[in-house]
């Protein structure tokens, strides 16, 4: 993994995102990977009986994807300081989600190189279903 330094970052820069296809196998991996057995994420009848269109990915899967976006980008010496997001619409089984972000602001704070980002997960049905923000600390080239 290459290391990104704070000086290399441009405000407005897009993060290289990635896509995840939400096949039924991925939904099973989601339950295994998060150990979240609440049936709304794996039992289609249960999800529909609660008024939802189908099973959808859980919080821990969503944040794992958003966090991967940040840790891939920040490199091994980066530190994810803050991550927040809203689950406004569904990522359903059968969707493909696209996880993306861009740099909003870079600044120095208490000797640290900080970067604020907008991040999100979108799908073709809903557009941006999960908007969020994050702050990442990056090493300084001069340090």
């Amino acid at each position: 993994m290459s290391q990104r330094c704070w000086e290399d970052v441009r405000e407005g820069e897009a993060l290289p995102g990635f896509a995840l296809e939400l096949t039924m196998t991925r939904m099973v991996q989601q339950v295994s990977g998060t150990q979240d057995f609440y049936p709304i994420h794996h039992d289609r009848d249960f999800a529909r009986s609660g008024g939802h269109p189908d099973i959808f990915v859980n919080t821990a899967f969503t944040r794992a994807a958003l966090c991967r976006l940040l840790t891939d980008w920040a490199g091994p010496a980066g530190f994810v300081k803050r991550l927040g997001f809203q689950m406004r619409r569904y990522h359903l089984v059968g969707d493909t989600i696209y996880v993306r972000g861009k740099v909003v602001k870079k600044y120095r704070q208490d000797g640290v190189g900080a970067v604020d980002l907008e991040i999100w997960a979108e799908n073709a049905r809903e557009g941006i279903a999960t908007p969020g923000t994050a702050t990442v600390h990056l090493p300084l080239r001069s340090a």
Binding site: M1, F18, L20, R26, Q29, Q30, S32, G33, T34, Q35, D36, F37, Y38, I40, S49, G50, G51, N58, T59, A60, F61, T62, R63, A64, A65, C67, R68, T71, D72, P76, F79, V80, K81, R82, L83, G84, F85, Q86, M87
Partner: protein, 169 residues
């Protein structure tokens, strides 16, 4: 019979669980399963034993099964609400230090607010905001987490005016 949110707010807002140790230490296998579910091939996590930041609450938890014991679910289930269906809505983390395989984490949860806010699913949707503190073996704060979960009734329950007995005023 109705639902009196003011009674629930008085009883539950500010309630805090004691600090509880996670069932297991930070371990490689759950980290690898977590990474593989989102195609994360970061060697920091897969090979070098760093815990993905968003997994610290997983390792601070009492475990996934029985289902009521995972993270805040046991606490949420105790708060009287008209329905019992759950959907997470807002989630935020702040981290203070990195964690590695072998460390042991502990957790406490606090109920920040309980409010009724109608949704398309249920006019008596209850929104519960919690704050979670995760600490390491030295008692140093690893992360703070804020979560807002929606508790609602099924469409059939809404139509029937159903309110769970423990929530009925």
């Amino acid at each position: 019979m109705g639902f009196d949110i003011s009674r629930v707010k008085v009883a539950w807002e500010g309630y805090e669980t004691p600090l509880m140790p996670g069932r297991y230490p930070v371990e490689f296998d759950p980290i690898r399963r977590h990474c593989h579910m989102v195609d994360d091939q970061n060697p920091l996590f897969l090979e070098q034993g760093f815990c993905p930041p968003v997994m610290v609450d997983y390792f601070a938890s009492r475990g996934a099964w029985p289902p009521g014991e995972l993270d805040i679910l046991g606490l949420i289930r105790k708060i009287p609400t008209p329905g019992d269906r759950l959907v997470n809505m807002n989630h935020e983390f702040e981290w203070f230090k990195a964690v590695k395989v072998g460390e042991r984490l502990s957790v406490s949860h606090k109920v920040v607010s309980v409010d009724v806010k109608p949704t398309k699913l249920d006019p008596l949707s209850v929104w519960i905001k919690t704050e979670t503190r995760i600490v390491d073996e030295r008692g140093e704060t690893v992360a703070l987490r804020w979560n807002q979960i929606l508790v609602h009734r099924t469409p059939e329950q809404v139509q029937a005016g159903f309110i769970r007995a423990e929530a009925a005023a």
